[in-house]
């Protein structure tokens, strides 16, 4: 189910001010690293270099060579996409990662027990594990603000209108119109999030194309995650099959066996005895029954039916 609401990110309007990053941290009370050396200069305006348990949204910076003499920045929005086909939800065994009534993906920290399965399942590497409280974290789409009639904190803070919020179908229509406007100057412009992962709760207008804005081209749930989702059913079938086989073997084995004194070892003759009589070392494996089976012999010798005493 695609979300009924969406955030629209227009990268052509973004100036990389990071107001949205700050607003996200501020509203969600996410601590920033403040000690000396905690955030070393990395040679780019992009900071931090990746999301963490305490940073749920960041703007990525990439240089694009427009022509021989001109370079510009392409911005990307690195945060939860609120996918319709959300692998984080399918792998979550506690129900912490779930779909809210509006279709967005919410991580209920009170239910999270820190298995990190969602971290491994997300094709965008969005959920992050926080050592602070041993729980996974990610953008919540500001559910608490939405419930009180407010817009998400990131959208509220955007000074240039690069972020918009509303009904998903309206945001998609808006994105398509804007993409058409940009097309003459940006022939690679792409609207991202309409079809990817069966539709996302974040629609992006990407003037230079998805890859240039550091978005995953053709994202999919990891193959391992898809197989893992089928494993409980496979395990169930396997265990039931094994129980069926053992039940059949139990029935087939009833009444078979031997007494605790039946087999003895004659140390002098160096031979195993059955009921005191030396056993035939050339006894066929199959004791009685079909002629074809009697051809099989432990020592490769032909054996005649009835020659061998049963050892049961």
């Amino acid at each position: 189910m695609a979300s009924s609401i969406a955030i629209l990110f227009d990268a052509s309007k973004c100036t990389g001010c990071k107001g949205c990053q700050v607003a996200c941290k501020s509203w969600n009370q996410l601590p920033a690293p403040l000690d000396f050396g905690d955030a070393p200069f990395s040679g780019t305006y992009e900071s931090p270099m990746e999301n963490t348990g305490d940073t749920w949204l960041r703007i990525t910076f990439d240089e694009i060579e427009v022509d021989e003499n001109r370079v510009t920045l392409s911005f990307g929005r690195d945060a939860c996409k609120h996918c319709s086909d959300a692998p984080c939800v399918s792998v979550c065994s506690s129900g912490a990662c779930h779909r809210a009534h509006n279709g967005t993906i919410v991580l209920d920290e009170s239910k999270c027990f820190g298995c990190q399965y969602c971290v491994a399942a997300c094709p965008f590497k969005v959920p992050k594990f926080s050592d602070r409280d041993n729980k996974a974290k990610k953008c919540s789409f500001c559910q608490d603000r939405l419930q009180n009639g407010l817009t998400p904190a990131c959208r509220k803070s955007c000074p240039v209108g690069a972020l918009d919020f509303g009904a998903r179908k309206d945001m998609m229509a808006k994105a398509q119109r804007r993409a058409l406007e940009l097309m003459p100057d940006f022939p690679n412009v792409e609207v991202y999030g309409v079809t990817q992962m069966d539709g996302m709760g974040v629609i992006s207008i990407l003037p230079f194309g998805a890859a240039e804005h550091r978005e995953t081209v053709n994202p999919q749930a990891p193959l391992m995650t898809r197989i893992e989702n089928a494993l409980p059913a496979i395990a169930g079938v396997g265990v039931l099959g094994a129980l069926g086989v053992t039940a059949a073997a139990f029935i087939g084995g009833r009444g078979s066996g031997y007494t605790e004194e039946q087999y003895t070892y004659d140390k002098v003759r160096r031979v195993t005895c059955d009921g005191g009589k030396p056993m035939d070392p050339d006894a066929p494996i199959v004791k009685v029954g079909l002629k074809t089976e009697n051809k099989v012999n432990a020592k490769g010798a032909e054996a005649k039916e009835g020659e061998v005493k049963s050892n049961d």
């Binding site: 506690s94 239910k111 027990f113 396997g238 087939g252 066929p284 199959v286």
Partner: protein
């Protein structure tokens, strides 16, 4: 009086039961995470406790058997020697006929076997490999995504879950045979449950080559009133 052969010494039984007890706890606690919806049904407190027990017992699962191997290093050597011993014709024939024997044991004179039956050798190799996979992947998952690349964690998790499926199936068969539910195997649990002894008759029926060697040497043979 009945002759008995000592099959498993104390430390071999100790390692087996360490794997068995911790393994079953891990299996149950792992199920709460593995089966979708089960954790949600049980509630987050149960899931949190179960996950913590899984981690602690997981560490015990790695460490405690090592204590057993340190206490009696020859056991480990013995296991490895038996697991990787060359298969002879009896071993191959045993494997060939075991599926038929399983459903109609009265009809078959199974070929004599060495200390570990060829079928069990094959199953044990898979079991030990799965235990190794559990250990390595479990440790990697314990380290977590903050210290490891996410793909390493994802592969470890996948391996852990896949091993779980195979292990669950093998465990059903292992319990069926080892616990003596299968009629011809009904007296075998004593080798692991009790004093580690098996009767002369049991030994000759199940592990003919090994029993003959032991009975000929008499080294590990004891005589006791029959049980």
């Amino acid at each position: 009086m009945t002759k008995y052969i000592r099959r498993h010494n104390f430390w071999a039984r100790f390692v087996h039961w360490a794997y068995a007890v911790f393994g079953i706890i891990l299996l149950i606690t792992g199920l709460t995470i593995f089966v979708p919806g089960l954790g949600e049904l049980l509630g987050v407190e149960v899931l949190q406790t179960s996950s913590q027990v899984h981690m602690i017992v997981g560490i015990l699962f790695v460490v405690v058997p090592i204590i057993g191997y340190i206490a009696k290093p020859s056991n480990l050597k013995h296991i490895l020697q038996n697991l990787f011993r060359r298969w002879d014709k009896d071993d191959v024939d045993f494997m060939k006929f075991f599926p038929l024997y399983l459903f109609n044991p009265k009809k078959y004179n199974m070929p004599k076997q060495h200390y570990i039956k060829s079928g069990q050798r094959a199953s044990d190799i898979v079991m030990y490999l799965l235990i190794l996979v559990f250990m390595v992947s479990g440790v990697l998952m314990l380290v977590g995504t903050n210290l490891l690349p996410v793909w390493v964690f994802a592969v470890a998790k996948f391996a852990h879950q896949l091993a779980f499926v195979l292990f669950a199936v093998l465990l059903v068969v292992h319990i069926f045979l080892g616990a003596g539910i299968f009629q011809p195997y009904r007296r075998l649990p004593r080798g692991m449950f009790g004093d580690g002894l098996v009767s002369e008759s049991d030994a000759l029926y199940h592990w003919g080559h090994w029993a003959e060697e032991e009975l000929a040497s008499g080294e590990n043979v004891v005589e006791k009133p029959s049980s």
